[in-house]
């Protein structure tokens, strides 16, 4: 006669929890990446700034990965939110779309590896490309700046400058620094998760 049953497994209600988590971690991600990127205001550190951003944001992202129940949806939403905010605040729509793509990739990584460490690490790297891509418009504007300069300065000097900035090495540097930061950050995050959140009971 007993109708003992398991509760809280219906998907529609845990969906709200996931959505709220996306919002929370989205806010946290924006704040932290903003703080991390502010080191880039010192021109010499622009390239390193992506590394700092992904280092700082990996711990919250790992916690986020472990908390959500729908990794694909949540990653896409997180990146979309970031994209929306950035589009409104002055980056092109193309950047917003790029964010969604990274989100899909990150979600797929998590889904394929069932949220184990490798999956989280790969997803973290994917998401680290988001702030790296933010710098792309800066590059396209530099060329325009060169055109502006050429009317003013002498030819040889412009050629030198063009050689410097038209090369895509700094851009590749940005991405690889970001990814490196994400990998290192991922290992730190694994330690922090083990050391703190699992013991507190916030993550499995």
């Amino acid at each position: 006669m007993s109708n003992t049953r398991i509760t809280g497994k219906k998907s529609s209600n845990t969906l709200v929890r996931d959505l709220v988590n996306v919002g929370i971690f989205g806010a946290l991600y924006l704040v932290l990446s903003g703080l991390g990127a502010s080191i880039g205001f010192i021109p010499a550190f622009i390239v390193v700034s992506t590394c700092v951003v992904s280092l700082v944001t990996s711990v919250p992202l790992f916690l986020f990965f472990s908390k959500v129940e729908r990794p694909l949806l949540c990653c896409v939403l997180l990146c979309t939110l970031f994209g929306i905010v950035m589009t409104i605040s002055g980056h092109g729509i193309s950047f917003g779309l790029l964010c969604v793509v990274y989100g899909v990739l990150a979600g797929l990584c998590l889904k394929l590896f069932h949220k184990n460490f490798v999956g989280c690490l790969l997803a973290n790297v994917m998401i680290s490309f988001v702030p790296s891509s933010m710098m792309i418009p800066l590059w396209s504007s530099t060329e325009e700046y060169l055109a502006y300069c050429s009317s003013v300065c002498d030819k040889a000097y412009i050629a030198h400058l063009a050689e410097l900035s038209s090369s895509y090495w700094p851009l590749i540097g940005l991405f690889s620094f970001g990814a490196a930061g994400a990998v290192v950050g991922g290992f730190i995050a694994r330690r922090v998760m083990k050391k703190h959140f699992e013991r507190i009971g916030l993550a499995q």
Partner: protein
């Protein structure tokens, strides 16, 4: 709408072996106001979650039995359907708002139910009039005081016009004046024929409103009283069950009796002896610490805090009372050097004042209790740290993660870290908010012990029961100034009068 819980068993895990509720039956008639009381962890909050549908729809666990709301089984309804019938108000006003301004928040519930915008506007208008919220409209949620937030929360729930209200410790973060407002709200609902279920530690404000008080123990309804019955049994009976007093006037005799037959205090009973039998008379003539130049203002014309001299008796517990917004927290911050001018901060650092925050989670950083105590220590001395932990009955937890401990233990870890960083003055920000009687007593005993070891304590609190239990003198603040300062013994009536005067 009547509520009936039939043969409910529930556990938060996969099997019913460690059930928090066991075969519980409860009938609540339509239009009744009932209070669920009991010690922390007895399962009373779980009962409230059964009524508002969080169980079985949100929390994962194992459940047996059925809950009927007006004849409908909650298992067959969706949460959205239940939310039309049941409105819930929670303990923490900080975390139950979804919007950043009050207007949006009031309309939020209605918007979720997909009501017509014109009707929502009408309803919000009605609620604003009913709850007298005109001055709160269009404000940012983040600039409201705790009491104002709780009023907005009640109003926004009322806007959807549910038949049943479930309140989970709504008074935990409120001062006595705003608790009176809350009482007014609850009695209005009752007059309108709504069913109200309140989970609460503080009982006195519900004395005239509640129809029944259900005492929950070990997952069962152990006793049921009307408020009058419980009051007749006296304060000692209530406190022996771990309940807060029902009548503040009864408090004084309750405290006196308490001294003769001490209630068993969990966790701390086995502490070093001698601290409880503190000779207060001797200490009261002891010297006092004097703080000067305690001023703070965002705008020069409107000082939030304006105190020239503040005398705290050494080695004693002083209560700091006053309404929300009187400047108590600002005083604590300035004392501890977290706010104020450069030389106020320097003075604070020199003196060594430590603040135990209301949310202790903010001040626990490391991975083990021992590390936490060692962190602020200069030079780091493990033996001394262990001694401090011993004094706080935390030695067996030295290797545990501080955040994984219970609330009271966390508080003690924070105190330990304060002691280890060599502070002589410790300021507490509402250490007993949301605690049941035994936990409150545990905090009180620990503070007495701390005072006996020579620390000077200042406690911001809204809890008269706690003050009568543990403090030796009282400071009352109003508009950033100290209005009164008096020793407690002999002045208990004055204290109760000033604290409840506006009730």
């Amino acid at each position: 709408m009547n509520i009936s819980l039939k043969n409910i068993s529930f556990s938060y895990s996969d099997s019913l072996d460690d059930a928090i509720l066991e075969n519980l039956n409860l009938e609540i008639r339509s239009g009744e106001c009932i209070v669920l009381a009991g010690e922390s962890g007895c399962g009373k909050t779980t009962i409230s979650k059964l009524i508002n549908g969080l169980i079985p729809h949100y929390h994962s666990g194992t459940m047996d039995g059925d809950v009927f709301l007006g004849g409908k089984n909650t298992s067959d309804m969706t949460l959205a359907e239940i939310s039309r019938v049941v409105g819930s108000v929670f303990q923490n006003p900080r975390s139950q708002f979804f919007n950043i301004d009050t207007d949006c928040e009031l309309a939020f519930g209605c918007e979720n139910l997909g009501m017509d915008p014109e009707e929502i506007k009408q309803r919000v208008e009605n609620v604003v009039q009913e709850f007298h919220l005109e001055h709160l409209l269009g404000r940012s949620i983040f600039n409201l005081s705790g009491g104002e937030k709780q009023r907005i929360a009640c109003a926004s729930v009322a806007a959807t016009d549910p038949e049943i209200f479930v309140l989970d410790e709504p008074s935990a973060n409120l001062d006595l004046k705003t608790i009176a407002d809350l009482k007014e709200i609850v009695s209005r609902w009752k007059r309108a024929g709504k069913t109200v279920v309140i989970v609460e530690h503080r009982l006195y404000y519900l004395r005239d409103v509640a129809d029944r008080i259900c005492y929950v123990k070990n997952g069962q309804i152990a006793y049921e009283w009307t408020p009058a019955e419980l009051e007749a049994k006296g304060a000692a009976y209530a406190s022996s069950l771990g309940l807060r007093c029902l009548n503040l006037e009864q408090l004084r005799e309750g405290v006196v009796r308490q001294a003769h037959q001490p209630c068993k205090v969990p966790e701390l009973v086995e502490g070093p002896q001698g601290s409880k039998e503190l000779d207060l008379a001797k200490l009261s003539i002891a010297k006092s610490i004097v703080f000067t130049n305690l001023t703070f203002a965002y705008h020069k014309k409107h000082p939030i805090l304006d105190i020239d001299r503040l005398k705290l008796p050494c080695g004693q517990i002083t209560a700091l009372i006053g309404h929300n917004g009187a400047g108590k927290s600002t005083l604590a911050q300035v004392l501890c050097g977290l706010q104020g001018s450069w030389h106020q901060k320097r003075a604070a650092r020199k003196r060594g004042v430590y603040l135990i925050m209301q949310d202790v989670n903010h001040q626990l950083f490391t991975e083990s209790v021992l590390d936490e105590v060692l962190l602020g220590m200069k030079p780091q001395d493990e033996k001394l740290a262990l001694e401090i932990l011993e004094g706080l009955n935390l030695k067996q937890y030295a290797d545990n993660h501080p955040m994984a401990l219970s609330g009271g233990q966390k508080q003690r870890v924070a105190i330990g870290s304060g002691i280890s960083s060599g502070c002589d003055v410790v300021v507490f920000d509402e250490p007993t908010s949301g605690l049941d009687y035994r936990q409150m007593l545990a905090v009180s005993v620990m503070l007495k012990k701390l005072a006996a070891s020579g620390k000077t304590l200042l406690v911001i609190t809204h809890d008269p029961e706690f003050i009568l239990n543990s403090c030796q003198s009282v400071i009352r603040m109003e508009h950033g100034k100290v209005v009164e300062q008096y020793p407690l013994s002999g002045n208990e009536n004055q204290l109760i009068k000033t604290m409840t005067g506006k009730l």
